[in-house]
Assembly symmetry: C2
Homo-oligomer: 195 residues x 2
DNA sequence: TGTCGCCATCTAACCGGTTAGTCAACGCTA
DNA sequence: TAGCGTTGACTAACCGGTTAGATGGCGACA
């Protein structure tokens, strides 16, 4: 582990940092723990990333970008999008928690990224609505988008309402997924996939 | 401020603690700041409440109880309930943040309280559904309840999706309230209040 | 009535462990 | 040997929690 793999070390640090921040937030995270988990010295963190806050910002941005890359937005199939968001939120509880921490702490860094993603989606929804000129949607795109995201992530690890209540008898993900898509369908007025 | 009003001092501490915890969470909160804001000595906190964690638990439970007292649950008018939850979440952003922090940190104290409230509501919904024996609801009560809460609080200060995006052009609360109630109506199948 | 002692309330100062952040040097590779 | 990657040792500040004591109202007793 001597030389040559600075890039690998950086990646290891980012991964460890992701876990630590996801578990404890910025204020609760311990730099020593991150270094230990990454199998390197604490000082490396400060050489590669300037500070704890910068490290968090980097981790957040990197993972947020992953979300936007992996989650294709389909303005003409919002129930399907909701289902995919749900899948993602269940597959990556750590990432959900990370986003929740970032929201609570006054983390300003990723706001721009999020705003851009949001307005892109809103535009796409407007375009889709214009194309299929039906009866005119009941809700504005901004409202729908937030509602869909809230619904799709309501059962994730970061939500105060979902998993912590009655942990044993959690509905199995498959039916939950279907119900979410169904609910979104009835809000948007889209045709339901189920019977 | 010498003697006699221990009760008042305790209340002042609890208020200051609520603000501090709401702003910074448990790990980020500073006991010194709480004491200063409460206008008393730090040691009093440790006399009246045993530790920082206990103080947080006390603050949380007190405020959670307030929620359950002030928010009447109406199983036969879920859109109205959603609207009231929304109003509450907008009127008390600090409390929303407090609950979000408690969810992220592994705060176990208030779970029992919440579970009790949840199952009471689920029972009430089942009873209401049995009484008005319509076509049988599309969704199970547990699902509906979580969905409603997620929707109603999606625009609160604690939500990652709502207010932080496009802060200037936030839809005004009145229409937002109506839209939420409307969305809940279309999920539950309840008659809509609007046209 | 004066005053003595008691107890609840509250405070200033302190403590020891922890934490973010730094520094000077070492080894490996080219 | 030049330099990047890496490290152990270090520090200054911070922070939760503690200790010893000040303040002042109040009842008991003479």
């Amino acid at each position: 582990m001597a030389t040559g793999n600075a890039e690998a070390t950086k990646a290891r640090i980012l991964e460890a940092a992701r876990d630590e921040f996801s578990a404890h937030g910025i204020a609760g995270a311990r730099v020593d723990r991150i270094a230990k988990a990454a199998g390197c010295n604490k000082n490396l963190l400060y050489i590669y990333f300037q500070s704890k806050e910068t490290l968090f910002a980097t981790v957040l941005e990197q993972n947020l970008r992953r979300v936007y890359d992996e989650l294709r937005f389909t303005p003409d199939d919002l129930p399907g999008y909701a289902a995919r968001v749900f899948d993602f939120s269940m597959a990556e509880p750590g990432l959900m928690r990370l986003m929740a921490w970032a929201g609570l702490e006054q983390e300003t860094g990723a706001v721009a990224l999020r705003n851009a993603a949001q307005s892109a989606k809103v535009s796409a929804m407007e375009a889709a609505a214009r194309e299929a000129d039906g009866p005119g949607a009941r809700f504005a795109p901004e409202f729908l988008l937030t509602a869909i995201l809230a619904l799709a992530t309501a059962w994730s690890a970061a939500s105060p309402f979902g998993p912590r209540l009655s942990p044993g008898l959690a509905t199995d993900p498959a039916t939950l997924r279907m119900q979410i898509a169904d609910a979104v369908a009835s809000i948007t007025g889209a045709p339901r996939t189920g019977p």
